[in-house]
């Protein structure tokens, strides 16, 4: 009789849970075609294949970092909202990301992390802040042509290759700057007038005639001077004099002691504009995706912990306050220990969730960094469907993932039973 009532549930469970697991385990012992038995080969492959090792390393980083950060943030938010006036509004805002689908969140963060400051909001903020404190240069990207008297030096600077004696005029050609981006003050370049015997004069100009005409390293009529460039006269590694070019690109040093000088155009003239951080590159991709994950899940942790917080007996807190405990002591010695069961449930739930993370990684990481960003769940999909079509190896990863998740599930189940 009892069995009769259980039967529908059992049949459903069997068809939807037990059968797929058993079939995956069976399938995992066959090769890609599904016809050849390969035993444990697909399982050893998880530990030998470079991509799945990266996936394992990344999953480990995720499990170590994400659940604890989310739990701690949730705890902080929960405790803070007890004390602020607009608590409900604040909670609603923090919880709101949970209402957005993960796919949509992934798309949002793909844009947020975009490298181009015109598109990615984080880099837009970074570059704005950076440019507020250090102005960008006027001539980023200038290059010295091979065969010109200038050669690149460390820190975007250019130096002359040969020494120069006072009494000489030097031509310092630069190229690689769009003519349209020159300052309005720039006028036609001219060779600088000859200097006095104790001086060095010269011209810094854009040695490029539109359409490719003109003679290289020669001031041609259509070419413009580069105004406002700092020029240093360097002797024995030390700048002894410094000047700035005029609208026609000319500059002049006077009253230089006798000796040989090299001229230096310091890097400040040519510093490339700050481009922000390459969030979607191979080195920062995992932290970047974890950031998106925290944005989504902090609200979940906060709501559960806030519920636990509301259930804490107030009299204990009051008693401690009467005894003169500080707020920090209250938090550490009373609130956290009393919340421990809730915190553990939140943490373990997040661990299970993090082990399965797939959508965020799949969407945020561009194809070229997917190998560096991959986690076990994503790798399982990539191996089974992402072109390799090796569903044997994919099933093996699924079973492996299942084994990793099951301790956490058993832990949660046991807690439920104890609480009952």
């Amino acid at each position: 009789m009892a069995l009769g009532f259980l039967l529908p549930a059992l049949a459903l469970l069997g068809a939807l849970v037990v059968y797929p697991i058993v079939f995956s385990a069976y399938r995992s012992m066959f090769d890609a075609s599904g016809n050849t038995f390969v035993g444990a080969h697909n399982y050893t492959r998880i530990f030998t294949d470079a991509d799945s090792r990266t996936a394992m390393r990344n999953t480990l980083i995720w499990v170590v970092v994400a659940p604890s950060l989310v739990t701690v943030l949730g705890l902080i938010f929960a405790v803070l909202t007890e004390r602020i006036r607009w608590a409900s509004a604040f909670k609603m805002i923090v919880f709101m990301p949970m209402a957005v689908s993960f796919l949509a969140s992934g798309v949002i963060f793909r844009l947020v992390y975009e490298g181009d400051p015109h598109r990615g909001v984080i880099n837009a903020v970074l570059t704005t802040v950076h440019d507020t404190f250090s102005s960008s240069s006027v001539y980023p990207g200038a290059i010295a042509r091979p065969g010109s008297p200038l050669t690149p030096a460390p820190g975007n600077a250019f130096v002359t290759t040969t020494g120069i004696q006072p009494g000489h005029m030097v031509l310092l050609p630069l190229v690689g700057l769009p003519a349209a981006q020159l300052p309005k003050s720039a006028t036609q370049a001219v060779p600088a007038p000859a200097p006095p015997p104790d001086g060095i004069s010269g011209t810094v100009w854009l040695d490029f005639t539109r359409g490719g005409g003109g003679v290289q390293n020669h001031v041609d009529p259509a070419e413009k001077g580069l105004p406002g460039i700092r020029v240093q006269a360097v002797q024995a590694g030390k700048a002894v004099a410094s000047t700035t070019t005029g609208p026609d690109g000319t500059f002049a040093f006077t009253k230089l002691p006798a000796g040989t000088y090299t001229l230096k155009l310091p890097g400040g003239n040519f510093a490339a504009p700050y481009q922000g951080v390459t969030w979607l590159g191979p080195s920062l991709i995992t932290p970047a995706i974890i950031g998106a994950y925290i944005w989504i899940w902090a609200g979940f942790a906060m709501v559960l912990i806030a519920a636990g917080l509301a259930a804490i007996p107030r009299d204990v807190l009051e008693a401690a306050r009467m005894d003169g405990a500080s707020e920090w002591h209250l938090f550490r010695r009373i609130t956290v220990p009393l919340l421990a069961p809730v915190l553990t449930v939140v943490f373990v739930t997040l661990v299970i969730n993090v082990l399965k993370v797939f959508d965020l990684v799949f969407i945020i990481a561009p194809g070229s960094v997917q190998p560096q960003a991959t986690v076990l769940a994503l790798e399982m999909w990539r191996v089974s469907f992402g072109g390799g079509a090796d569903q044997g190896a994919g099933s093996a990863m699924a079973i492996f993932l299942c084994l990793l998740v099951s301790p956490a599930i058993f832990f949660n189940l046991r807690r439920f039973r104890q609480e009952q």
């Binding site: 490298g115 690689g176 539109r210 005409g213 070229s368 469907f385 992402g386 079509a389």
Partner: protein, 430 residues
């Protein structure tokens, strides 16, 4: 897009109804003879969307008008295998599937999921295609598929304005393109000569294939494509070394590894940070988004690196999955010059059918490309990575795609790249 297609269908159906009524009233027997497939339903699955899908539906309409069959189009999404595998296993595949890679013909033929072409389809293929293209749709000597839509993959797109400013002409040789021409472009103030789409590996494999086809020649190309020679071969080293000249950091617009395919076109014609972008004829549809690009964008053939003028094609191969009369008849139609000409009149289409004349195309660029392909004849080759097993040549972040992305990151590492390519190829080709 789907809605638009639906509305168009409804509209056309509405227009056709009175005509059909007219036809049936005059001679009833004549209609059934003229429409031998009346009432037959044919399902076609392909990954085309947007304009590509609309254009196919227009061609399908011609077939429907001639035969009375009804074609349903099912878009598969990006991952064709994810779509097809469950339907094959469930015993309900589409009548015709359009495979984006010849490698998949062998894969599905191995799973006994394909039906051989009927005799009249094979006759149509023989009449309209050279043996090389016929072989691409075959597996184990049995013809299974027809290359119904090609992409011409040996085109460099460039900004005429940037070339004018720098005072250069489209380069004829690789050495000129990566040497003096690049230097002049940089001098003129363009940030970099080339815009690369390195966020995904597929455009990078096309770069490599053009260089290799030109430098090592078509015979070596076939051997490497079939993995009869190893990727550690000196010819591969030479090709990578040449490729490295174009992929140096100062040759490539910044952020190439985070730039995906459509965005890299914008780097040249929208943001104007580079002067050239390499990809197939279909860049044309992409660049039309940017104001003024239709005046500014020009094409020159991928320059010779070695002795051969490289001509590389990609394309979609239609295969029969359910052996019905309708499916075979539709394939025969799609293999014909008639369908090729009609399709060529629509934008964004290129045909490998030798009986589709250059005049069938409406724009000058496609006419020029069609002429080149006739001139090259048997030396044209199909995209190598698309012929390889998908695990090597068709997966984001794996195999050749990943190895060439890494090479773009560090173009000095020729030997290391070769070793990684060979290891991945050996694993995929076994």
């Amino acid at each position: 897009m789907y809605m638009k297609g639906l509305r168009a269908t409804a509209l056309v159906a509405g227009l056709l109804t009175p005509l059909a009524a007219c036809g049936s009233s005059s001679t009833t027997s004549g209609t059934s003879a003229a429409q031998p497939l009346k009432g037959v339903k044919i399902e076609v699955a392909a990954k085309w969307t947007g304009v590509e899908q609309d254009n196919f539906l227009k061609i399908a309409k011609i077939f429907e008008g001639e035969t009375g069959a009804k074609i349903t189009y099912t878009p598969t999404g990006d991952s064709l295998d994810t779509f097809l595998a469950p339907r094959i296993q469930g015993g309900d595949p589409p009548d015709i599937a359009v495979l984006p890679q010849p490698g998949l013909v062998a894969q599905y033929a191995g799973q006994h999921a394909l039906k051989p072409l009927s005799a009249d389809v094979v006759a149509a293929v023989d009449q309209n295609f050279t043996p090389y293209w016929k072989n691409l749709g075959s597996s184990g000597g049995t013809p299974y598929g027809v290359l119904i839509k090609a992409a011409y993959k040996s085109t460099m797109w460039y900004s005429a304005k940037a070339f004018d400013t720098a005072g250069i002409q489209p380069p004829q040789t690789w050495a000129d393109m990566v040497g003096p021409a690049s230097q002049k472009l940089r001098d003129s103030g363009v940030k970099a000569p080339f815009s690369l789409c390195g966020a995904s590996g597929w455009t990078l494999t096309d770069w490599f294939e053009n260089v290799y086809l030109s430098q090592a020649g078509p015979q070596m190309y076939d051997k490497l494509a079939a993995h009869q020679i190893k990727w550690t071969d000196p010819s591969v080293a030479a090709a990578l070394k040449s490729l490295g000249q174009a992929w140096q950091p100062n040759q490539v617009a910044p952020g190439a590894l985070q730039t995906d395919y459509p965005t890299c076109v914008g780097t040249v014609f929208g943001k104007k940070q580079a002067a050239m972008v390499y990809e197939a004829d279909f860049v044309g549809t992409e660049m039309s988004k940017y104001p003024g690009a239709d005046q500014d964008a020009k094409v020159f053939p991928f320059p010779k690196v070695g002795a051969t003028q490289p001509v590389e094609l990609g394309g979609d191969i239609a295969v029969v999955m359910k052996d019905t009369k309708g499916a075979q008849a539709l394939l025969k139609f799609l293999a014909s010059a008639e369908a090729g000409k009609a399709w060529a009149a629509l934008p964004g289409y290129f045909s490998a059918n030798k009986n589709v004349p250059p005049t069938a195309y409406t724009d000058a660029i496609h006419q020029q490309l069609a002429q080149t392909i006739l001139k090259v004849g048997d030396d044209a080759r199909y995209d190598m990575s698309d012929m390889a097993p998908a695990a090597f040549g068709g997966t984001d972040g794996k195999g050749e795609w990943k190895d060439l992305t890494d090479f773009l990151r560090n173009p000095a590492d020729v030997a290391g790249t070769q070793q990684k390519l060979e290891a991945d190829a050996a694993a995929a080709f076994k």
